[in-house]
């Protein structure tokens, strides 16, 4: 996982050698230390980030292969065991309808992960294109884009999200689209503010003089140089999406029965936290593990990829 991400980062940053000055600290190490190895080394120095990666990988494995360890499917109802506490037959217990909580948790985690990762990827792509285009074109385009972004940021977008997804959702793929449409603004704003300094760089001016078209400059010269920022936002976007997906599903506007996500499981368990705490505890634990691990990974990536970052440069002060 860690190697994947870091090599991605280096390949994303290398197409334009002029853009990236070798990171400080690269010099004092062995000269053959590549950028990818340097990032990896800095990332591994952060213990919390490594813990985050381990937890996240375990969660992914759990969601992918967890169903092999149980004979129940999330949709099976065991009418002989309604609202049973955890036992040998039902590891996480059963809910009011006799569904196995372990099987539901595996499926729900899978659903929540799929939604979170795809929304996060789509959001970063949309935000990168819109944010960097606004910065590159400048002038009226920039002003109009920023006005739209600011407007969408202060409008209670959760309300609009609930409104739209109530009619369309139930299908988790639609939920992905809806969450992306109302989730790109804050990332786009950050990317815009960083891109405004990139558009003044020499290599962008050089590309302009060579007659390269604007879309190509944005795609080949500006966006690749935002690589580290985009990757950090990707991990933090997963956290944000998990939080809003659980909130929507909790209120009944996101994933809907018979489908199961962690949010719907939280809603199921909410009414019985004293009489049947296991219904709530397992999905709650999974959500928190997922978000906390991704936050640790995001922090670690930021420290590893950003040469100016204080904690990265100071040699793992934590």
């Amino acid at each position: 996982m860690a190697t994947d991400v870091t090599t991605d980062a280096s390949s994303g940053a290398t197409p334009d050698p002029a853009a990236r000055v070798t990171a400080p600290g690269g010099k004092k190490n062995a000269p053959d230390l590549g950028l990818g190895r340097l990032y990896l080394r800095r990332f591994l120095r952060n213990r919390l980030a490594v813990v985050g990666v381990v937890i996240f990988v375990l969660l992914v494995l759990f969601s992918a292969f967890g169903s092999l360890f149980t004979s129940y499917a999330y949709s099976d109802a065991d009418f002989a065991a309604l609202t049973q506490p955890p036992s040998a037959a039902h590891w996480f217990g059963t809910n009011q309808g006799g569904n196995d909580v372990y099987a539901s948790a595996v499926h729900g985690l899978q659903r929540s992960l799929a939604i979170a990762v795809s929304v996060s990827v789509l959001t970063v792509v949309v935000a990168a294109v819109i944010g960097s285009s606004a910065a590159y074109f400048g002038g009226r385009v920039e002003k109009a884009t920023l006005a739209v972004i600011h407007f969408l940021l202060v409008v209670p977008s959760f309300l609009i999200l609930a409104l739209v997804s109530h009619r369309l959702a139930g299908d988790w793929r639609v939920l992905i689209v809806v969450l992306t449409v109302f989730g790109w603004m804050s990332t786009a704003r950050v990317i815009w503010s960083v891109s405004t300094s990139l558009r003044e760089r020499d290599y962008v001016t050089a590309a302009e003089f060579m007659g390269i078209s604007a879309p190509r400059i944005i795609l080949r010269h500006i966006i690749p140089n935002l690589g580290s920022l985009l990757i950090v936002n990707l991990t933090l976007g997963v956290v944000a999406t998990v939080l809003s997906e659980t909130a929507l599903s909790f209120l009944g506007f996101g994933v809907q029965t018979p489908d199961v996500s962690l949010g719907t499981m939280l809603a199921d368990g909410a009414g019985t936290i004293t009489s049947a705490p296991w219904l709530f505890a397992f999905p709650a634990g999974l959500v928190v593990l997922l978000t906390v691990s991704m936050t640790f990974v995001g922090d670690g990536l930021r420290d590893a990829l950003d040469p100016t970052s204080v904690t990265g440069a100071a040699g793992g002060r934590r």
């Binding site: 209670p156 009619r167 659980t246 909130a247 909790f250 939280l266 936290i273 928190v288």
Partner: protein, 327 residues
Amino acid sequence: MVRHVIRKAAGWLLMIVVATNATYFLASWFLDPRSNFKELRPVRTEEQIDRALAPYNLNPQEPLLHRWWDWFTSVVFHFDWGKSPTGVSVNGEIGYRALISGELVIIATILSVVIGVTLAVYTASRQYGWADRISQAVSIAVFNIPTSVAALAVVFVAIWLNQNAGLHFLYVAGENSPGVEGLFPTIGDRLLHLILPTLSLTLMGYVGYHLTQRSLLLDTINADFVRTAQATGLTRSKAIRRHALRAALIPTATSVAFSIPAMFTGAVITETIFGWNGMGRYFIQTISKNDVHGTVATAAFAAALTAIGAILADIATVFLDPRVRVN
């Protein structure tokens, strides 16, 4: 300076108007009041349904722009927010609900800012001390917990306390107890009901202020002007509070406006969990009942809350930032 605030307030007013109207169109597109009649027996024909909806300005046969214009003029001239598909006046519903939610959101926001900033000042002046590390870890953990989980955890702890410690003042359901008479008992009863929802909202809200304010403060704490202030004889803590904090507070003040939508989202979930009949719960009910006018009124309320927060933030900025006063 007054002109600065007025100009900003006018901008926010415009924002409310645009947002509310945009929500009207979205709600009209995505909510279908006709589907409410689908389960009724005997089965209604299309014309019967249209005729039943017509008096409430929800008739789908009428062009959307006509309906919008009728709704818009009645809001502007009579402050009448329309009727639900069953004919209940939205105004009557939102009056007391707005009060309940407003009190929840505003108290939680104020508490969040005060607690977050205080904690930030305390920890930033002791960077990497044990208090800093522990509160940092707690804040990062809380930052990642979904509101629903946090609120339910608060409920769980409160029920446990009620049962095991014999407490009787922690209420986990409703915004008041039935049968309380008199002014002071009513106020006391309402305040007691406020404790837990406010606590869980504050728990979600303070974190952002703590983490951002701490890093902002760390940027200014070693600035020359703070050292100069200390050289004039101020103690370090006084220098931090009067000089470093004042400069570092400006971005926080502006961020209050942007945090209120999140606070309202939190209120939607908190009200659902604590069984409060506030705007948040009303919003969920109106959406599930395809009540276009009720939904729009809630969105307008949320936009108004944001605007109030933003205007207060602008006023605070005027006091904090001398550059604004000069221009």
